[in-house]
């Protein structure tokens, strides 16, 4: 049996070469980074726009100090092509990923809705409806918020890269594995505490909510608030205890999205005939899943990092409400070939001779 180097020469039982996944899916990870960066830049820009609007409505340009004057000029340059009456027109996009308003249409985080229902002990439907669109998308696409929008993911993934850099320099970082079910406990305990306290406590420990708010506090109100300390602690936790530890083990929003996206339609599938068991997908998976053994589960956020890293194009998207059952070792890997050879050895000599040619 000759060694197979080129993936496309592999033959399946039906004699057809296994199909390559759609070529653009390898590049989806770059699009994801673009999306994360855009959200983060918007979160930085909106407080500055708010400050600019304050200056505008106060007609204060001549009284401003030099630094604020340059801020005013910069914001005027940026926003000028898009608006005619900046004082009112710039209100079209306001808010953070916790709750935002797009020109009288409001979007809220499902966690905000759940926590508010728990705190107020009643359902206020106009507010629940603001989370309808995110909930529908989460049910269809799974935890996509975590990978594609969340401003905390942006910082946490940069933090992961920092950790790798530190490891290269010889500093030991944390790689502990904890129990993934802990985040569901955080969600339940948080909701119970919210009910007991009568206020939305979830907002104080949910990183996407914290980041939007703290950026606003820092830029527009002149100083970081309480949440920034908590967020710094989570960064240290990720660096020193467990990689991406907060998202994997503690985030209540991630827990809610995982539950909502349990029967999501868009999933990632491993093409077993193309896989060579290199485990690169397991190494890059930010949520500590096991794509190489088909173990995605409800916590996969379809971030497509495993698709981007796969050297043999063995990862692809499928539309299915359930994961593919475990498919065993990849057909290009050592383990699969050794089992094949073992079964061949037990077969009749004639067959082996035929195959080995």
């Amino acid at each position: 049996m000759t060694a197979v180097n080129n993936v496309d020469h592999v033959q399946t039982k039906s004699g057809k070469a296994p199909s390559r996944p759609f070529f653009l899916w390898r590049h989806l990870n770059k699009l994801r980074w673009l999306s994360l960066t855009c959200v983060f830049i918007m979160l930085l820009l909106l407080p500055y726009i708010s400050v600019y609007q304050n200056f505008l409505s106060a007609h204060a340009y001549d009284l401003l100090p030099a630094a604020d004057k340059s801020l005013y000029d910069i914001m005027e340059t940026i926003t000028d092509p898009f608006v005619t009456d900046p004082v009112n027109d710039l209100d079209a996009i306001k808010g953070t990923t916790w709750s935002a308003s797009f020109d009288s249409y409001k979007l809220s985080d499902p966690l905000a809705v759940v926590a508010q229902i728990a705190a107020a002990k009643r359902v206020y439907w106009p507010f629940v409806l603001t989370a309808l669109l995110p909930i529908i998308f989460t049910v269809l696409l799974g935890r996509f918020f975590c990978g594609w929008i969340c401003p905390a993911t942006f910082l946490y993934e940069l933090n992961t890269n920092l950790g790798l850099l530190l490891e290269k320099m010889g500093v030991r970082t944390g790689h502990r594995r904890l129990d993934k079910r802990m985040k569901y406990a955080v969600l339940v305990v948080g909701l119970l505490l919210s009910t007991a306290a009568g206020s939305v406590l979830m907002a104080a420990i949910y990183p996407p909510a914290i980041i939007g708010r703290e950026l606003y506090y820092y830029i527009a109100l002149g100083g970081f608030g309480s949440g920034s300390v908590f967020f710094l602690l989570t960064l240290l936790f990720d660096l020193l205890v467990a990689r991406r530890g907060f998202c994997r083990y503690l985030c209540p929003g991630g827990a809610l999205y995982s539950l909502l996206g349990r029967y999501r339609l868009l999933r990632i599938k491993r093409l077993v005939t193309r896989c060579n068991d290199c485990a690169k997908c397991n190494a890059v998976c930010e949520f500590g899943l096991d794509p190489m053994r088909d173990d995605f589960g409800q916590e996969c956020n379809n971030c497509s990092a495993c698709i981007a890293v796969c050297p043999t194009d063995a990862m692809t998207f499928i539309l299915s409400p359930q994961d593919v059952a475990a498919q065993g070792p990849g057909h290009l890997g050592k383990r699969y070939r050794s089992t094949q050879q073992a079964s061949l050895a037990s077969a009749s000599d004639e067959q082996v001779l035929n195959l080995q040619g």
Partner: protein, 202 residues
């Protein structure tokens, strides 16, 4: 299940609950004490922190309805809305207005954007943020230190809220139509701010 493993399992469950509550404990414990670090001579320190206009009548209802998204402050043209940091646990990240620092102009934008209607859309004259109160031992006209009336001129609601009253020889007097927006406090020229807004809702 024998007794020993039952005890172990229940202990483990209790430990898990405590672990899950830890982030909330951190969130509480790490909030900086902003209120206590203000300069002691700041006259605003003894003023009531008012809820933005249109806030739910009961303070408890407001605390449970507000999700702390901060959009009300983002749209506020005079940037008068600030946020509680550590003034009592359940207030964390909820908005307040301190008219002595910056007063509300009753533009109504915050009520329109509030996603939870913790700030319900309310007509200007029906807002109940508080009621202005004048200290007649300090206010310039009341102690006969000349003519002032900055508060009367600045009031967005006019004579029905605050006026030069004939019965008191044309000194400023607060009337029942006052909604507590606090513009009078912001413009008051007296350093000790003899006019202040008293919170009327519990």
């Amino acid at each position: 299940m024998d007794r020993r493993s039952f005890i172990y399992r229940s202990l483990r469950g209790a430990g898990l609950i405590v672990l899950a509550a830890l982030p909330f404990a951190f969130g509480r414990a790490l909030q900086p004490d902003v209120g206590g670090k203000k300069a002691p001579i700041n006259p605003a320190i003894n003023h009531h922190k008012l809820r933005p206009p249109g806030a739910l009548a009961s303070e408890k209802d407001f605390q449970s309805a507000c999700i702390g998204c901060g959009v009300c402050a983002e749209v506020c043209p005079p940037a008068c809305i600030q946020f509680h940091q550590r003034d009592g646990g359940n207030d964390a990240n909820t908005p307040y207005i301190l008219p002595a620092e910056k007063a509300c102009i009753l533009c109504g934008k915050c009520m329109e954007v509030c996603p939870t209607d913790a700030l319900t859309v309310t007509d200007n004259v029906q807002v109940t943020m508080g009621l202005a109160q004048i200290d007649r031992d300090a206010c310039y006209p009341w102690v006969d230190h000349g003519v002032c009336g900055a508060c009367v001129v600045a009031c967005p609601l006019g004579d029905k809220a605050i006026e030069f009253d004939f019965a008191t020889l044309y000194r400023p007097v607060v009337n029942s139509a006052c909604v507590g927006c606090g513009v009078c406090v912001e413009v008051c020229p007296h350093p000790s701010l003899p006019i202040r807004i008293i919170k009327t809702t519990a």
